[in-house]
Amino acid sequence: MTKKRPSIYLTLTLITIATVGGIMALQTYYSSTSTRQQMLDQLTAGAERSFIALAKNISELIAAYSANEYQRIIANELELKNGLAIIVDDLKMGEVMGLQAYRSGSIRDADWKIVDFDPNNSAQKALLETSFYSHRHSITNDRGEVLGWLTHYASDRELQQHLDALLMRNLIDSLAISLLLIIALFIAIRSRLLQPLGQIVKALEHKDDDGIPHHFVPRGGPREIALLADTLNRMIGAIDHSRKELRNQHRALEQEQERFHLAVEGTLDGLWDWDMRSNHLYHSPRFETMLGYDPGELPDSPEAWTGLLPPEDVAMTEHLGKAYMETRGEGIYERTFRMRTKAGDWRWITARGKAVFAEDGTPLRFVGFHTDVTHMIRQQQELLEQKALLHYQANHDALTGLANRTLFNDRLEQAIVRARRNHSKLALLFIDLDHFKEINDSLGHRAGDMILNSATQRLQKGIRAEDTLARLGGDEFTVLMEGLHQEQDASLRAEDILQQMARAFIIDGHELYVGCSIGISIYPDNGISARDLLKNADAAMYKAKNEGRNNFQYYSAEMTTLAFERLHLESALRAAISNDEFVVYYQPQIDVSRRQITGVEALVRWQHPGMGLVSPAQFIPIAEASGLIVEIDRLVMRQAMTQLLQWRQQGLDTGTLALNLSVKHFQRKDFISAVISALVDTGCNPEWLEFEVTETQVMDNPTESIQMLHRLDDLGISLALDDFGTGHSSLAYLKKMPISKLKIDQSFVRDLPDDAEDAAISKAVIALAQSLGLDILAEGMEKQVQIDFMLEHGCNKVQGYFYSKPLPAAAMTEFYTSWQGKNVHRMFA
């Protein structure tokens, strides 16, 4: 192979010739180019100077149309400058001749004689195009106006002749110098470089089977070759030394391996070694015995290893393994997991290992130890359980298991933060058992503890699941109520608690009456810190004690009054249901354009024996809050449906019966069956009915409400969305609701048509109903202008005092009759 390569002698020869030849060629080229450029610069500079003067000289002749005069001057100038041609583009003459410019001048012919320039002579044109230099100069008059152009063309004839001679001379010089240089270099290289190198090569040829020379090489020649000889000699020495070292290392390695094997066999940990190229997993016998297997019993595949993991851990273990590989073995891989033993129970194993990677990032090998950490893990779990127990004890009352003062304070503070953020209210009930001390003193602490436990159970029944009940100590309990709609809602809870606690406690055969006093403070009305709320609830509690115990008091007297009123009204409502004190009134719904009664809306009225007619605004919210509204609605529904059938039997054209429906109904499981039984019992056709639901209520729980509305729709009952515009319906929900009618709330109608905002809202609601294909009805019509407004904007159906206030059934019967009479009269009028 090496013999086919050219010798250093030949290589140096070629390099020398090429280098010297190349440099000389470059030098010749550079010299010619710079000489040419120099000559060219002289020529152009001279030409430009003389042409400025020439242009000035002939400008007057051009202005005077003296073409012949300037042509003579140009011919002389050309003769003088030895140029190729001078051409004048005379704009003045051109203008007269209808040309862009009159082109004339002087040019050399083939014999280098000056002749007149003829623009039509193609040979002259070709000559100009091949000119090697041209310069154009404008001809201007004194005022700076351009009269024409003067163009000088130069031939490279003389320049070329001069350069040819120069090039020839340079070439001969270069060749001679090159030859001398090459010969001198040859002699020097041969004696100074090649001979010492040859001696080194000769010494290297005497070598052993591994190609290592037997002897050191001779040292001679210039510094680099001597250095080469030194280096070679050092290398020969070093190789010899390395061979001896390698033999020593081999022996050490053998000892090391022996030590490692002994260690692996002696340790409690199991070794694993995963060759990722062959996918072969080695594990030491210790790993197998760790899991109750005999050595060699487990297959040596990673799949077999994975099979020992709990199935739910496999995916995570594989994921973490991959994640470690993606880090290219950064740090140590460590994971603790369970593995099934041969007997089928589980051991906690920690795997620690490290991977080796190829340069391209491919993992090659993954090696580590398995350690049985079952014992340690169990200890940790016990520790955690103890910690949780301590935490629980620190936050809970040991006797009742309720939150203690610490936990309650913490929850109260958190609740205050939430209420502040949501702009909601919360109530704190401070409960003190009324006769606990006497019982404790007379019957002993055990009985006292039993009372406290029973009281705890009763209190838990009296509160909502989301409320927090705590025992602060002794016979003091607190209840935290969040998400309060009205302050009075807390009184309902207090009332429940009072009732629960009023019943006798049976302790060791004793019938004991304990009772309690409750103080209520409201955030933010009675304090904005946990401390203030608690202090004020405590103060209210003492007020309750002073009021004769077994009652509740708000921190503020007004709230207490309102709460009692409400409680009174609620109990009156319950009585009203059983006493049948509710009466149904009817308000007609009119289609103005067709002059027709399209229906009546059934409205409940409460005829209280003492209070007289109670306003719906007064009792409906309480009925809603207490859930009594469902009973009331059902009564109204039946009463109205019976009345409707009566009217129809009388032959009256009643239209639809609109019934208000609280969404509270939807929470009753028997709602649909109650509707069906009312239909069956009264004999009403579902198509005659229309249920009105309020937008606000529906949007409180849209998904459930819409589902219920669909069931009503399936029965064939029409649905209307009441008070539309006062809530915040999503259009998406609106589309999903099976409603057929929108009612414009009277609050938007009251100031029509003067209030621009109300007018805009009404128009928008009408447009929305039209675009969704819904019927539309406006409530609260009191004036003709309001009706005109609605008609003008496409709402024909209205309801309100303008036509009639809500009427009792008998009056409504009269209204029907007289309306039909009017219509008949109008028909025949």
């Binding site: 005077a64 149309y65 003296s66 073409a67 012949n68 005069e69 042509q71 003579r72 003045k92 003459m93 007269v96 001749m97 209808g98 007149d116 003829d118 039509n120």
Partner: protein, 342 residues
């Protein structure tokens, strides 16, 4: 010479000189006003050849008369001719040339504003392959069919001899002759001076001094004349190489108090000369023959167009007129100098 004498002399021609002067003035007016219109009236019919006469300034009588000679000759040859005056401006002259070349006339007669402009016009015509005959004022270079000019040297020589004879007759042969010359850069100026000086030398009369006209104004001629008279006490004659400023020279002689002591002789002719020469106010004048020159130009072109050879240079004799020969020369003067046809 009295008015009666003059009357008698021209009687043979049946024309009163006053009548003739009237005609001359009238003709000049006519030529000035009507020549372009007349030319356009002579637009070619059928295959008749069309010529263009490019003239430096038709307002100058000499050129107007030559134009008439051209038109006269062209009419008889069946040519139409368009006279295009440059009004002595280079631009208009160039425009006229371009116009003629564009119209593809069959031949051009050229009296350029100067010989240099003539060279340019000849070049343009040569490029359009239109034959050109140059009349009176030559061209610096260029190719043409023929160049017709007056034999200035011979004319000057003849007039020089007339002056010399007159000075001998008066016994003033020792007196000197001052020359108010046209620019000697001009070929005709040189020819006139050399011809005249040859005649003086032959007669042994010495020349005094030579002043070259620059602006050809009345005032300039008057000044030059006064300077020559004042500088040379023995000055006996002034030779004016032109004709139109003769009045200035006469005034200078009179104002110098040398009336009757210094003779005046001119080159070229003015209508007044027909009176002044017989009266003796002028010794004589060398008269060119513009009408004849025009005729010859047309004939030369016609020969060339027919393929006949034409002499490249043609020189016309100049009439040397003195009181002694004015009667014999009158028919020639009327026709060839003044362009008046019987």
């Amino acid at each position: 010479m009295t008015m009666e004498g003059l009357f008698r002399r021209i009687h043979t021609a049946m024309i009163d000189r006053r009548v003739m002067r009237f005609y001359l003035g009238f003709f000049l007016l006519l030529s000035f006003v009507f020549i372009p219109a007349q030319a356009s009236a002579e637009e070619p019919l059928g295959a008749s050849k069309r010529l263009a006469y490019l003239v430096s300034d038709i307002r100058i009588p000499f050129w107007a008369i030559m134009a008439r000679g051209i038109q006269h000759s062209a009419a008889s040859q069946g040519f139409s001719v368009e006279v295009m005056s440059a009004d002595n401006t280079a631009k208009l002259e160039l425009e006229n040339s371009v116009k003629a070349i564009r119209r593809k006339v069959d031949g051009i007669i050229l009296s350029p504003t100067n010989s240099s402009a003539g060279a340019t016009l000849l070049k343009l015509a040569a490029q359009a392959k239109i034959p050109v005959v140059v009349a009176d004022i030559g061209a610096d270079s260029g190719s043409y069919v023929s160049y017709i000019s007056s034999d200035n040297a011979e004319g000057a020589y003849l007039i020089g001899r007339i002056l010399a004879e007159r000075m001998h007759d008066l016994g003033w042969q020792d007196g000197r002759v001052g020359i108010i010359a046209i620019p000697q850069k001009r070929e005709n100026g040189q020819a006139r001076t050399s011809g005249f000086m040859r005649a003086l030398e032959e007669a042994g009369i010495k020349g005094a001094d030579l002043r070259q006209q620059v602006d050809f104004s009345h005032q300039e001629t008057y000044r030059f004349s006064r300077e020559l008279i004042q500088a040379h006490a023995d000055l006996r004659a002034l030779w004016l190489q032109g004709s139109d400023r003769y009045q200035a020279a006469l005034e200078a002689i009179r104002d110098s108090g040398k009336e009757g002591q210094i003779l005046l002789i001119c080159f070229d002719a003015e209508p007044e000369f027909l009176d002044l020469i017989p009266q003796g106010a002028l010794v004589g004048a060398a008269m060119q023959q513009p009408f004849l020159m025009g005729q010859m130009a047309v004939e030369s072109l016609q020969r060339h167009l027919q393929g006949e050879p034409v002499e490249r240079l043609q020189q016309l004799p100049i009439l040397a007129v003195s009181a002694d020969n004015i009667d014999q020369q009158l028919p020639l003067i009327r026709r060839n100098v003044l362009g008046l046809l019987p």
